[in-house]
Symmetry: C2
Subunit: 423 residues, 2 copies
């Protein structure tokens, strides 16, 4: 007997049929002899519909009241799901984030979890019942107001309860079979991964792969919660995400590279003609930080023909480009640069794998594969288990396929894709 936390996203409970299908899965897990805690998101488009209503009614949208509004969505799905499970002969009780003991700070709309006190959840399990918990929401410890956790909130809720309850596994249900070695819509020979480490998952997610939200994976890593990403449409094993030692049993089959991620969400800003004197780069990046710019890669090159002058290029998310450029232009006189050039979007291709820690020649293989496909590399960044390069966005899909083949990730057959990623 295990304690299993199961998380179902909005697309899994989009309508009455979906709720009943999910209920059967929950009841089956319970009937197999396990203790079950379920975290559920709002039904399908509920959240968007509530946002539309708010837009119709008001332009100010106070954050506290927006959270009250949006949490109505999980309230509906959790109550319906509990009823559907009860219908199958398994006692189920629905709990709001507050009732379940998920305590947050006061940052409405993007609250952080400060504590989980799952007293009622434990009582529910002790009495042999199933606990259905609203995802995405908690209670402001300062004043008992409801808060929402922001993007990735339901995944994070599930992992947080798995950690607090010492669950054996946190199952993340989605509409695909698991995590793939690349996006199957681009790389048709992408293979489903059996096991990944938290670090690989974080690197892939941070560089464009639609896996899990970073926040949930970081939470899982910190508390060492085994994740199992799997399909709500089948009983197949999905992808396990575990710590490095637990993943050692994959060693025999382990490729150097676990997966290839591509990213079209970044743009490049080049500050041209910067005086090459100490402190100027620091000044530029403090201006970028003032615009809340999230910098990923940086390249600085001094001009050989024009000594004393350099160019600084860096990448930021596309939606932050305008603010960052505006802030830089305001500071142009102070910073003394010549002009600003931008490119948006750029293409970034990344390979990620724990095997890169111990294997040499990985970057040589990467550059060879790209060169053989006539793909130029514009910028590079690396971590211990990742290499990312900026390429022509037109050639990004080719680059993904080339690297997937070069690192021997290609599956025998084609990947089965059920639909969107559902998260």
């Amino acid at each position: 007997m295990a304690l299993i936390v199961q998380k179902f996203g909005g697309s899994s409970v989009a309508d009455a049929e979906g709720i009943k299908r999910v209920a059967r899965r929950i009841a089956q897990t319970k009937n197999d002899g396990h203790d079950v805690v379920v975290v559920v998101s709002a039904m399908g488009d509920t959240t968007d519909e509530l946002l539309d209503l708010a837009n119709e009614v008001t332009s100010t949208q106070p954050a506290r009241e927006m959270d009250i509004l949006l949490t109505a969505g999980e309230r509906i799905s959790m109550a319906l799901l509990a009823m559907a499970v009860n219908d199958l002969g398994c006692e189920a009780r629905a709990y709001t984030g507050q009732q379940a003991g998920l305590k947050t700070d006061a940052k409405y709309g993007k609250a952080s979890i400060v504590d989980i006190v799952p007293q009622r959840i434990k009582e529910t399990l002790n009495e042999g019942a199933i606990a259905i918990v609203a995802g995405f929401q908690g209670v402001n410890v300062e004043n008992n107001d409801v808060t929402t956790l922001g993007r990735g909130g339901s995944d994070t809720t599930a992992v947080a309860f798995a950690a607090a309850l010492g669950a054996d596994v946190c199952e993340i249900y989605t509409d695909v079979d698991g995590v793939f070695s690349a996006d199957p819509r681009i790389v048709s020979k992408a293979r489903q991964l059996k096991v990944m480490t938290y670090e690989e998952t974080l690197e892939l997610a941070a560089h464009g792969a639609k896996v899990l939200h970073l926040r949930a994976v970081e939470f899982a890593r910190r508390f060492n919660v085994p994740l199992h990403v799997r399909s709500s449409f089948s009983d197949k094993e999905g992808t396990w995400i575990v710590d490095e030692s637990s993943s050692k049993n994959r060693a025999m089959e382990a490729p150097i590279v676990a997966g290839v991620a591509h990213d079209r969400s970044q743009g490049k800003i080049s500050v041209v003609g910067v005086p090459d004197i100490p402190g100027v780069a620091a000044h530029i990046f403090s201006v970028v930080a003032d615009a809340d710019g999230n910098i990923d890669m940086i390249v600085q090159n001094s001009s050989l023909s024009n000594p004393g002058i350099s160019n600084i290029s860096f990448t930021v998310p596309v939606e932050q480009m305008d603010d960052v450029v505006a802030n830089l232009e305001k500071a142009q006189e102070e910073l003394g640069f010549n002009n600003i050039q931008t490119q948006s979007p750029i293409g970034i291709i990344s390979i990620v794998g724990e095997g890169m820690r111990s294997h040499t020649g990985v970057s040589a293989k990467l550059f060879n594969a790209l060169a053989e496909n006539s793909i130029n590399v514009e910028m590079i960044s690396t971590s211990e288990i990742r290499i990312s390069v900026v390429v022509d966005p037109q050639k990004l899909d080719d680059a993904a396929r080339a690297l997937h083949t070069a690192f021997e990730l290609d599956a025998d057959g084609e990947a089965v894709v059920y639909g969107g990623t559902g998260r």
Copy 2:
């Protein structure tokens, strides 16, 4: 400056336009210098849509989870209304029943209020803001679960907060101008009443008039909360419902009868051939009580031609007829009656007025008016301020018009009807 509690029903906030209209009314009241607490129902058909969803998902519908589900409705409307009021430059804060301090017993779906601890509402008012409270819901004091108050719950919530806060008035907004001396759809010359007593309102509501829910009026009477039933579509004075002493200022214009109510929701059961021995009537009514039958009128008549045998007739709500008859038939041998006759529905016409306490000749006038219109009276029941009679349901509308004219209630013009009663 007064403290005003305003209650808006689902039809007043059915869509974004409705919410904005209600928000303007609230802001105007605040800008006139008053403290304002608002109680709001779920938007339009939200509750019915949630019930439909529950019916699609499950047949068991556990009461606790149904309450979680249904309270999502007010959550949405209260958040949107608070935002809309904020948009108009008045600070407004939305509160669930729990946050507002409405504590109930554990009877999910039909909870009773056990206490109101409006700490956060008082703080909100002290800080110059408007409190928007979800109607129809509270928190189970035993375990912090959400509960709903059942039928009339939003009116009752408003009156309860008005009582707990010592409000100067509880305004009940609806889609008609106030309470009428009869249903304007039947009696075209019905007039809007300026002032009524709690007792008159209770008698009218209990006998078929669509006024306010009995429960809310009883609460208002117990705590002496002045009610003002008025239209959310106009600024006209509506109908004040107050205690008898406060209503004395209407004495000069006061008619003996305040209003005429008609009721087609009752049926008649006649138990024929009952042995005329002590205790049999008591036995019959305990059988009826076992079927949860709500008896209104009772007539027992002994047969002159057949001494020792009597017939007992009584009225119960139409929807209780089958259960009551079934229970009686099960006990037929024991009770020794001959057979059961039923009539469903019957027509009941009532006149209600405080003036009846001190005026004689009221019943004579009633019977004359009915006789002149060839309407037979089958059963009679009275209270200090009411006379009700059972008549042929086909002639109920005629009876209402005849009595309205006889007791000089007819207005000069025709009543304006905006739509349904919205409650």
